[in-house]
């Protein structure tokens, strides 16, 4: 659906904005350019005051719209212009702990551009570019996602696997933990969209930190990247065969891996979560540990699902599994953002998984369908699947 911006009104802050910085700035009259400059200088943007987040934009424009991806709210809301100025604002109420990615759509002349918030240095990247990020009250960036010079670093190695299932060469990046020893036996974690996890969810830094902090044991991680994501990730038998019959046996023949279901994990986000579940359904108990983030688990209770034909193979798979669920792993971690439309599908999946007797942990966050949401859940998810020796090791 194409969004048609509402008429951009010149508006003073409303009664329920009383006490907010924007209301104090305006205070019934148009602030001078000097006051506006000072206001911008003195605040971080968006301004977070309790549950109210004030988005601010300054420029001459025909209209400015806040574009975000919070399911349940209008995804496009017009900012109001403070009368007599070039200052625009919008007050959005966000529950504690929320994290919201957004852009401004700025209309000037006949042109309309989506831009990041020039007043906000917080940016989150994804394969499509980058968004500005609003941290609502109570959201804290985890300390374990930051690179720490004192943390020993793992190493990366590129490998090529010849796949009969996928009829060609497939490259995989192997992560080995710091202080790697051939004499140890390591768990193996296979990651869908591995390079994206590294680029956009700081996966190698997270692994380095979690291993160093003993939240998880040293892991060998196979970072896979699909040649054709839409083909391979939508319940593809060839993809599942590649992982279970080619990649895992090849790595286990060559590396000091535990080589048992409890020592094998498979994970992914979005369609990558679908590919993970699909693989374990086709090869139950090859992977004893399963991590599913914001899975695109389309299904229908009656009639057709409403996500479009692209999701047909996924809905067929999920519907089949819903009709005849069985344990596909020993432990499953499922996470989803409450700002995602997929929250319904993910919530629906959890009791189904639990009914099979698998050990399931489900976590929701006030976040959207994005890589930093998936990053922020990695500590809990990985520590649930592969508990580290933190309780036992004292340096």
């Amino acid at each position: 659906m194409r969004f048609v911006p509402a008429r951009q009104e010149q508006r003073l802050p409303e009664a329920d904005h009383q006490g907010l910085a924007i209301a104090e700035l305006v205070n019934g009259t148009a602030p001078t350019p000097e006051r506006i400059a000072r206001f911008i200088d003195e605040h971080d943007f968006p301004i977070v005051e309790g549950t109210k987040c004030t988005f601010v934009f300054q420029a001459e424009a025909r209209g400015v719209t806040l574009r975000h991806w919070v399911y349940g709210l209008p995804t496009a809301v017009p900012l109001s212009r403070v009368p007599g100025t070039d200052l625009w604002y919008y007050v959005l109420e966000l529950p504690e702990g929320s994290r919201v990615e957004y852009k401004f759509e700025v209309s000037a002349g006949r042109q309309s551009d989506w831009i990041r918030d020039p007043l906000n240095p917080r940016v989150a990247h994804d394969p499509f570019g980058a968004n500005s990020v609003c941290h609502a009250a109570g959201y804290e960036t985890p300390d374990w996602i930051k690179e720490d010079p004192s943390t020993p670093k793992g190493s990366l190695e590129e490998r090529v696997i010849h796949s009969r299932a996928l009829e060609g060469q497939r490259s995989v990046t192997l992560y080995r933990p710091a202080r790697y020893r051939e004499s140890r036996r390591y768990p193996l974690l296979v990651v869908h969209d591995g390079r994206d996890y590294v680029r956009f969810a700081s996966l190698t830094t997270v692994l380095d930190n979690l291993i160093h902090r003993l939240d998880i044991p040293g892991l060998i991680v196979a970072l896979t990247q699909p040649a054709d994501r839409m083909e391979q990730y939508r319940d593809s038998a060839a993809h599942a065969r590649y992982l279970a019959e080619e990649l895992v046996p090849t790595l286990e023949a060559d590396l000091p891996l535990i080589g048992a279901p409890a020592g094998r994990g498979l994970m992914g986000a979005s369609l990558g979560a679908v590919a993970s579940l699909s693989t374990t359904i086709r090869y139950p108990k090859v992977f004893g540990r399963l991590l599913l983030q914001s899975g695109s688990f389309a299904f229908s209770d009656i009639g057709d699902h409403d996500r479009g034909p692209v999701y047909d193979p996924i809905a067929d798979m999920v519907n089949r599994y819903r009709a005849d669920p069985f344990p596909v792993a020993e432990r499953v971690f499922v996470s989803c953002g409450t700002h995602e439309s997929l929250i319904y599908e993910n919530r629906s999946l959890v009791p189904l998984l639990e009914r099979t007797g698998m050990d399931v942990r489900y976590v929701e966050a006030r976040d959207g369908h994005n890589w930093e949401n998936w990053r922020d859940r990695l500590r809990e998810g990985l520590a649930f699947l592969f508990p580290g020796p933190q309780w036992w090791v004292y340096y």
């Binding site: 140890r184 939240d215 942990r361 520590a383 309780w391 036992w392 090791v393 340096y395």
Partner: protein, 311 residues
């Protein structure tokens, strides 16, 4: 067994104090070192060698145990089975501990007449202590059964290594037990019957090394990735350091500002004292009493005080 002296130290990573302590002891000869807690990294002891200026005499308990497992597969299998049983027992213990700890916390926070609440709170505490005590006894029963069935010290592969260890220890008046994985450390020391070989030595325990010298190895982490972080009685220790529970790296692992939480820990582990061994901390046992330097303890009201001299 009688040790002439026990010294407990905090972590040695950022602020190593071992060299100064060894100098302070004024005992001649090499210093025997136990680094089995570091597992495959046992032999990476350059920092320790440097601290001890080349006087370190590595006992290599982890490597010796690996040799024993290769030479005596029956013992290895039995040991693995014992460890598998202990993992199951830990899970069963935690299933009891968590609700008991939550119930106690709820009662401590409950409003109502103190004359009615206090006996209930005491009963809740006793329930946790009973669970702790029973878990410890069960662990010791499993370990005792392994010893009785397998008689490891009488098996050639173990006896051979133990003879060499005893010979090495004969040259050293001081033994350093370093940190790492507390259970691995304990198991390797127990496998070779180390406590009896330490008689008459001065034993310095650092971090996890300090923990295994106490009567109980208490595991703790106030900010775990999963769960509420209720401290666990993980193992029985060797009981060489009487009257306390060693809590190394406490400043990082415990929420020292949370007095209610610390109070619960101190009450639960009483009559043992909770000894906080942060970097630079030192506690000395002279056979009669403890004296401390830069170490602290948790009082039963949840306050943290410098050790001074323990009763």
């Amino acid at each position: 067994m009688k040790s002439s002296r026990i010294v407990l130290l905090g972590p040695q990573g950022d602020e190593p104090t071992l060299a100064a302590v060894v100098r302070d002891l004024r005992l001649p000869g090499p210093v025997a070192t136990i680094r089995a807690g570091w597992q495959e990294w046992e032999s990476d002891d350059a920092a320790l060698q440097s601290q001890l200026e080349g006087a370190a005499l590595p006992l290599e308990l982890y490597a010796r145990a690996e040799r024993v497992w290769s030479a005596d597969p029956e013992l290895r299998v039995a040991h693995r089975e014992m460890q598998a049983d202990l993992r199951i027992l830990r899970n069963l213990y935690n299933r009891q501990l968590e609700p008991a700890a939550e119930a106690w916390m709820a009662l401590l926070d409950a409003d109502g007449p103190e004359r009615l609440l206090d006996p209930e709170r005491e009963a809740a505490l006793e329930a946790i202590q009973r669970i702790d005590g029973r878990h410890l006894r069960t662990i010791q029963d499993v370990q005792g059964d392994f010893q009785a069935r397998m008689r490891p010290l009488e098996r050639p592969a173990v006896a051979r290594e133990r003879t060499e260890i005893a010979r090495e220890l004969g040259r050293a008046a001081v033994v350093v037990v370093e940190g790492g994985h507390a259970a691995v450390l304990y198991n390797r020391m127990a496998l070779f019957g180390l406590p009896d070989l330490l008689a008459g030595k001065t034993v310095i325990g650092c971090s996890a090394g300090a923990m295994v010298l106490c009567r109980r190895v208490v595991l703790y982490n106030d900010a775990p990735a999963i769960g509420r972080g209720h401290a666990e009685v993980g193992l029985g220790g060797f009981g060489l350091a009487p009257g306390l529970v060693a809590l190394p790296d406490a400043g990082r692992r415990l929420r020292l500002g949370d007095r209610a939480r610390l109070r619960r820990l101190a009450l639960r582990l009483a009559p043992d004292q909770c000894a906080l061994l942060d970097p630079g901390a030192r506690l000395d046992w002279d056979g009669v009493s403890w004296s401390g330097s830069r170490s602290r303890r948790v009082e039963v009201d949840g306050t943290v005080t410098p050790w001074g001299h323990a009763a």
